[in-house]
């Protein structure tokens, strides 16, 4: 037989375990209360019987059996709640409030305790057998003295305590069980939400999210973690889909152009016109362009999909910056641009050297491409006071208007005034992807402002987190 779902849950099993521990602790506690209260009641009754016995013995020592007899008769008829019985050496009753000793054994010398029942007739004539307790002793002269007391009242008190304790025990177990079931059900319900979420995601619903109840407990933490993860997965999936669309979109036009050119070349060749070799050369160039675009999009998509740059290693990024400066310096000179590099030495970094080199190369490419002759370009590598590494490239070109800055890092976005320049609009997207895959970011800001009648220029910074 399968247990209901609730009873199979871990919280419920834990509840049972804790309940058992709790019950054990409660029994020990209740047991102690029992000994401390019920035991005390009996001890007190015994002490009173003892005191009565001692006072009678005192009377016996002073006046012999007659004085004792006298005292017993007086006391038995008085208000004292004790039962008395006095017998001679042979066990024959002399006096007392009861007809016979509840203890038949008259042989012993020492005090001998006993619990027994006394039959009493109450005012209505009904017989009641009450519990009683007493002690019997042989006196110096051989007489036997018994003193007892009706303990019905105190026994009743003890019984009440015992009943109360049983009740308390049952309550503890009941409450514990109920609480356990309640807690288990709550936890199960919370977990059920996550189980349902996982099932939904597995079924392909990437928009499903776990409910965060705002209790700030571990459940919420788990739910938030799961939601973050799902956000990320959704973003990555979106990125991949976007990359696919972008590739399809951006490769379609050059591929169409390539195809058209080849068709025209074929027709011309058949008619003996045109130069098929030149046509093939152009086609080859087009194909190379397509491949370049494809490689760039692929690199971006891979970086975004991986989330983290592959093949990370520690290296001196100052050296890399110097290499890039040296690589591009002459290109700047050729274009009549003033080039300067300010590189703080020994900027150690952990990352993918090739990707960071590519990113800096892209930024320098852009700066050279968009800065008119007579302008200036500055490459700077330094550590910010926050500990982050900053590679910035400042140019004196036309700059990027504030409202376009978020847009230019997107794939295939090209500003109107750059349409005439070659390129696919992937350079900054790749830099952005490189930055993100290293836990860094790309910052675009206004450049140095007016320079040689140009400006305001652009300042692009690749900011990478500090290495611990």
């Amino acid at each position: 037989m399968r247990l209901p779902r609730l009873f199979r849950t871990t919280p419920f099993r834990l509840t049972l375990l804790f309940l058992a521990l709790f019950a054990a602790a409660a029994s020990a506690f209740l047991g102690y209360i029992y000994v401390a209260t019920a035991g005390e009641v009996n001890r007190r009754a015994d002490a009173e019987i003892n005191r009565e016995m001692e006072s009678l013995e005192a009377a016996y020592r002073q006046g012999g059996v007659n004085a004792l007899n006298q005292t017993i008769v007086e006391r038995a008829s008085g208000e004292r709640p004790f039962l008395y019985f006095l017998a001679d050496k042979t066990g024959k009753r002399i006096s007392g409030s009861i007809e016979a000793s509840p203890l038949d054994d008259f042989e012993g010398d020492g005090p001998s305790w006993s619990s027994f029942k006394v039959t009493e007739v109450d005012l209505d004539g009904a017989e009641m057998r009450n519990p009683a307790r007493g002690v019997q002793e042989r006196l110096a002269g051989g007489e036997v003295l018994f003193v007892g007391a009706d303990v019905a009242a105190s026994e009743g008190y003890v019984r009440k305590i015992v009943r109360a304790l049983w009740g308390a025990g049952a309550l503890v177990i009941l409450l514990g069980l109920a609480g356990g079931v309640l807690i288990s059900r709550n936890v199960s319900r919370s977990m059920q939400g996550l189980v349902d979420l996982v099932a939904a995601v597995q079924a392909g619903d990437l928009q499903a999210r776990a409910k965060v109840r705002g209790a700030r407990d571990e459940y919420d933490e788990l739910a938030e973690g799961l939601n973050d993860m799902l956000d990320r997965i959704e973003r990555l999936m979106g990125g991949l889909r976007h990359a696919g669309d972008a590739i399809a979109h951006d490769l379609r036009s050059p591929l169409t152009r390539l195809r058209a050119r080849m068709e025209v070349a074929l027709i011309d060749a058949e008619n003996g016109k045109g130069d098929p070799v030149a046509a093939l050369e152009t086609a080859l160039q087009d194909a190379d362009g397509v491949l370049k675009t494809f490689n760039a999009v692929l690199a971006i998509a891979r970086l975004q999909a991986a989330g983290q740059a592959p093949d990370q290693q520690s290296f001196d990024s100052s050296e890399l910056a110097r290499d890039m400066a040296e690589l591009y310096e002459f290109s700047c000179e050729d274009k009549g641009l003033d080039f300067k590099a300010e590189i703080t030495p020994a900027l150690h970094i952990r990352g993918n050297r090739e990707f960071i080199a590519q990113a800096l190369a892209n930024l320098l490419d852009n700066a050279i491409k968009y800065t008119p002759s007579g302008g200036a370009i500055m490459l700077r590598a330094r550590r910010r006071s926050s500990g982050e590494l900053e590679f910035s490239i400042t140019d004196t070109g036309p700059g990027v208007p504030d409202e376009d800055r978020a847009r230019v890092v997107q794939r295939f976005v090209r500003l109107e005034n750059s349409r005439s320049e070659p390129g696919a609009g992937l350079g900054l997207s790749l830099v952005q992807a490189v930055a993100a895959s290293h836990g860094g970011r790309l910052e675009l800001a206004e450049g140095p402002g007016e320079y040689n009648g140009m400006g305001p220029g652009l300042r692009v910074a690749l900011v990478l987190p500090r290495v611990e």
Partner: protein
């Protein structure tokens, strides 16, 4: 010169073989790793062009087996896997060069040429000599026809690489890889700028230009 092409894509192998044959090489094609190993075992090849992902035995396994058997024929890996880690795996397996698919034929040609002459030019030398050009690797001086040419350190490295591959086409990608040791794809003409600087230093004032531009491929240093 004989080249063994181990490539499972028959058409790609055919195009490659055609191009290389046109360039004067003798080509043998093996359609998978096992056949490639068998063919390579016969010996007599100057360069092996090995695809990485193939049926039966992949390229890395083929190269590792060859190297274990003591075969030191230069190997050029061809692969669609272009990440740095992929290159490292390929080069660690014992390959000498690594070209990522899709590639331009002149690039392949240039690399094959560089590999096929590797053993001749790889000897330890203190001076390099190409035609009138003389490079002293110890005191790092360059003379052309007795006239000293003053070069920056990187220009020196660039010229050294060109001289070691004199008479061969060398592509821009190869220069970035071998001289600067970066593997990214330069979008602009950065390498051309460096070459043109070098050219102005070694060819200016002489009636014959040694540094040639090879259309569609890159550059060549002629004696």
């Amino acid at each position: 010169m004989r080249i063994l092409i181990i490539e499972d894509d028959i058409e790609a192998a055919g195009a490659m073989s055609h191009g290389l044959t046109e360039a004067g090489y003798e080509c043998v094609h093996a359609p998978d790793g096992e056949a490639g190993l068998k063919e390579a075992g016969k010996g007599g090849f100057d360069v092996l062009i090995v695809d990485r992902m193939m049926p039966k035995k992949d390229g890395v396994e083929v190269v590792e087996t060859l190297r274990r058997e003591g075969d030191n024929t230069p190997v050029l890996f061809l692969s669609a896997l272009g990440e740095v880690s992929d290159r490292v795996v390929g080069l660690k397996a014992g390959a000498d060069d690594y070209l990522v698919k899709p590639y331009a034929f002149p690039e392949l040609m240039a690399r094959v040429e560089a590999l096929s002459r590797r053993r001749e030019t790889g000897a330890v030398a203190t001076t390099l000599k190409v035609g009138e050009l003389e490079m002293n690797l110890i005191n790092r001086t360059v003379h052309r026809a007795g006239k000293e040419i003053d070069l920056q350190p990187r220009e020196f490295q660039l010229l050294e690489f060109m001289m070691r591959h004199a008479g061969q086409s060398v592509t821009r990608t190869m220069l970035l890889e071998k001289v600067w040791e970066y593997h990214f794809d330069p979008q602009t003409n950065v390498i051309d700028v460096h070459i043109s600087r070098l050219r102005s230093k070694i060819d200016k004032g002489f009636d014959r230009a040694m540094l040639q531009t090879v259309r569609g491929a890159g550059y060549r240093l002629d004696p």
